[in-house]
């Protein structure tokens, strides 16, 4: 198992980082938070750099790179707390289009002419199988009804791919819906750069890009797994930067006549944070490569990556803020953009708890499944 990036991958990552450091500055992010800037110019630049085309297959006009590169892009977008539809388009919309073989749409994505996102979560829960969204066949197409929540860049993208169950067959499908056919309610709240929105569909016109069938579930799941790992990368990207900035701060902040980083209690916390970041990074790489190589162990790797990213943000966001002391708690300081990105990353695409439960089943801790059911019985 070789979990180190190739020279080309390192170069790509460094390029992305350089561009974002120049264009997606802290001042710019602050502007987005305070409503004085928008992401349009940044998006145009990203299109010029072919970033939306990254994982679009070459036959559809893309660069045809693997999921590893998508993952690296997601990590850098987290590190920069970048606003705009790129994360949703490359890590959510594109994988589902590729899985569906939706060539025309992919060409538009590669050209930067279309942005999109996945509408999966319902009532705050990211679920592999939709509970309430229903698709209905019409004479020549489909209509879709239901409410999806917490859609990444839901407030800004052109299109959604929506997971819904065919009322007739009970099978799950993936449906393309134009944003103009949906009722969109921004829920930016705490983390405005993610442009979250709730999206409601009332008999909206929909195209089945993965038609409901007995084998459609696993195909959709493969795309969702990519979204989940990309979100883990996004979280770890933010965490690594929190860690770096906290470390820098501990080397200059003086209390009791010494820099605070010279106190052993803090050193040990830094060692723990470093471990958490490296641990999450390594396992995220593992999941990325498992997806890229379509390894049989990919589902397990996906869950572990999201869990490790969750463990990482829990420690690093908490300690990062704690060790900055009061200054990190001020709006004026830039740390909170990263803290909020890290926390949101944990909550989106399934939280640690959900992935732990899924992993328990996958590991065939046979009794986990029955435990879930029994506990539910006890609770009700």
């Amino acid at each position: 198992m070789d979990l180190e990036l190739s020279v080309d991958q390192i170069e790509l990552r460094d390029n992305i980082r350089n561009v974002l450091e120049g264009s997606c500055t802290r001042g710019f992010v602050r502007g987005v938070y305070e409503g004085t800037c928008d992401a349009d110019h940044l998006w145009k630049q990203m299109v010029e750099l072919y970033w939306p085309a990254l994982a679009v297959p070459e036959v559809h006009g893309g660069l045809g790179l693997s999921f590893v590169e998508v993952a690296l892009l997601s990590e850098e977008l987290g590190r920069a707390t970048a606003p705009g539809p790129l994360l949703a388009t490359t890590s959510q919309f594109t994988p589902m289009l590729v899985e569906a073989g939706a060539g025309d749409m992919l060409t538009q994505v590669a050209e930067g002419a279309r942005t999109g996102s996945l509408a999966v979560a319902e009532a705050g829960r990211w679920s592999r199988v939709p509970r309430t969204s229903v698709a209905t066949r019409t004479s020549d197409s489909w209509t879709l009804t239901g409410t999806k929540t917490d859609v990444l860049s839901g407030a800004t993208v052109d299109s959604f791919v929506v997971t819904a169950v065919d009322g007739a067959s009970g099978n799950v499908g993936a449906f393309l819906v134009d944003a103009s056919d949906a009722q969109i309610t921004p829920t930016a709240g705490l983390e405005p750069t993610l442009e979250l929105a709730d999206v409601a569909f009332a008999a909206s016109d929909a195209a089945a890009i993965i038609a409901p069938a007995s084998d459609s579930g696993p195909r959709i799941e493969r795309a969702l797994e990519q979204a989940e790992v990309a979100m883990a990368f996004n979280t770890v990207g933010a965490c690594r930067r929190i860690f770096e900035e906290t470390l820098d701060y501990a080397k200059v902040r003086v209390q009791y006549d010494h820099v605070i980083g010279s106190y052993q209690a803090l050193k040990h916390r830094f060692a723990n944070m470093y471990l958490a970041v490296e641990r999450a990074t390594a396992v995220c790489y593992f999941a990325a490569i498992a997806i890229a190589e379509d390894d049989p162990g990919r589902s397990e790797a996906v869950h572990i990556a999201k869990i490790a990213a969750g463990d990482c943000q829990r420690l690093v966001a908490g300690d990062g803020l704690q060790l900055h002391g009061g200054i990190g708690f001020t709006w004026e300081h830039d740390l909170h953009f990263l803290l909020k990105r890290a926390k949101a990353g944990e909550l989106l695409c399934g939280g640690s708890a959900a992935h732990r439960a899924a992993l328990a089943e996958l590991l065939d801790l046979r009794h986990a499944r029955s435990a879930t059911v029994m506990v539910r019985e006890v609770a009700s």
Binding site: G318, G325, G326, H333, A344, A357
Partner: protein, 392 residues
């Protein structure tokens, strides 16, 4: 049980039921809502109005000596008071730091004029108070503060900056710690002043925190001139004013666990409430485990605090267990907020849980960081020597 003890219990029971009645009549849902409204100025106005009523009814700062408007309440009575206030979800005093810290300092070190002038109005909330201790470079290491006061005739001329002043932007008065002797060892050149915030040269700028507006300010002093009557205690003896003032509140630990218990109950309620899709967060085994652990910690905190209270009741002098309880309280409360985010998922990104989750880090920073608290426990409670290099 002796006769006196029975009488004591009866007195407490009467006190408790009187307070319950008074709260039922005066802390109505309307009043509660007006104090909790998001708009800070209006909320503060409502809080002040209600606070004055509370004080006039004899329920403000019951731990204070009677001569200053308190009841000389003993610890059992304080405990009953805290429990009833918590049960009614009634807010604490408007001048929370004032009542707990500044007033006792004035009682101990102030002139009779100062006592006359400040204590009653502080208690009623007629005047708002802030405290000026922390500075940008003096956080944990408070004694390193630099904001300076130079004598000019009888006046003190102050230059420098303070930060993290609660209500600094709306306060009428401030208890300010300044450096009056730069030559002396750091603990011996600090002086406490009671200053009028409308004095020229004093500027308060609100701090916006990552959780939004939390009512903190920075204070800037530019040749601000205060009369000799502003002096609290002796010149260069401010460190003892800061550290030797004992709060009258002996049952404060009770309010810590009571607030955490409330927080837990709220979370449990939210987890039991079905979401839009009909599922309940509490039905997930993982969530149940997390909630159960938080409950266990909440109860532990309660027992820890009760034990301290019982020790105080049996006449033992308070020791450094306060540090242990503060540590347990802040970490428990912070974990509770994190669990809320885990259990409630995306719902927690908005609304009150988001605020509590974002506000929770300040629990382990403000009023002595967890790190400093652990040092205090290690050194003062357990008798470990100081870190070789650090001189606290």
């Amino acid at each position: 049980m002796s006769g006196t003890e029975t009488e004591g219990h009866e007195a407490i029971d009467t006190f408790r039921s009187d307070l319950q009645r008074w709260l039922a009549a005066n802390f109505t849902d309307t009043v509660a809502a007006s104090i909790r409204q998001p708009e800070r100025t209006a909320a503060l106005r409502a809080h002040r109005t209600w606070n004055a009523e509370l004080v006039d009814a004899g329920y403000g700062a019951i731990a204070w000596p009677a001569e200053y408007g308190g009841r000389d309440a003993d610890i059992l009575q304080q405990l009953a008071y805290n429990e009833e206030m918590a049960a009614a979800r009634a807010p604490g005093p408007v001048n929370a730091i004032g009542v707990a810290n500044i007033a006792p300092a004035i009682m101990a070190y102030g002139t009779s004029d100062q006592k006359q002038r400040f204590l009653r109005s502080m208690l009623r909330g007629d005047e708002l108070w802030s405290q000026g201790m922390s500075e940008p470079d003096s956080g944990s290491d408070l004694a390193s503060l630099k904001c300076s006061a130079v004598r000019d005739g009888d006046d003190f001329v102050v230059n420098g900056q303070k930060t993290w002043n609660s209500n600094g932007d709306v306060a009428d008065w401030c208890q300010l710690y300044v450096r009056t002797n730069a030559e002396a060892p750091k603990h011996q050149g600090i002086t406490a002043l009671l200053i009028d915030m409308t004095t020229p040269g004093v500027e308060a700028r609100p701090i916006k925190t990552m959780a939004g507006d939390a009512g903190f300010s920075e204070l800037f002093f530019t040749d601000a001139r205060f009369p000799a009557s502003a002096l609290l205690g002796q010149v260069d003896a401010g460190w003892s004013v800061a550290t030797n003032t004992l709060s009258h509140e002996r049952a404060g630990v009770a309010s810590m666990y009571l607030s955490v218990r409330q927080q837990f109950d709220d979370l449990l309620h939210a987890a039991r409430t079905p979401g839009e899709d009909g599922t309940r967060a509490i039905d997930s085994p993982v969530n149940r485990v997390a909630l159960m652990r938080r409950f266990e910690e909440t109860r532990n905190l309660e027992f820890l605090a009760r034990r301290t209270l019982d020790a105080a009741l049996s006449g033992q002098q308070p020791g450094a267990e306060g540090s242990v309880i503060k540590l347990a309280w802040s970490t428990t409360s912070q974990r509770l907020s994190m669990t809320a985010v885990d259990v409630l998922g995306l719902d927690a990104l908005d609304g009150r849980w988001a605020a509590s989750f974002l506000g929770s880090p300040s629990l382990t920073i403000a009023g002595g960081t967890t790190e400093i608290n652990k040092n205090i426990i290690g050194e003062r409670v357990l008798g470990l020597p100081r870190e070789p290099k650090g001189a606290a």
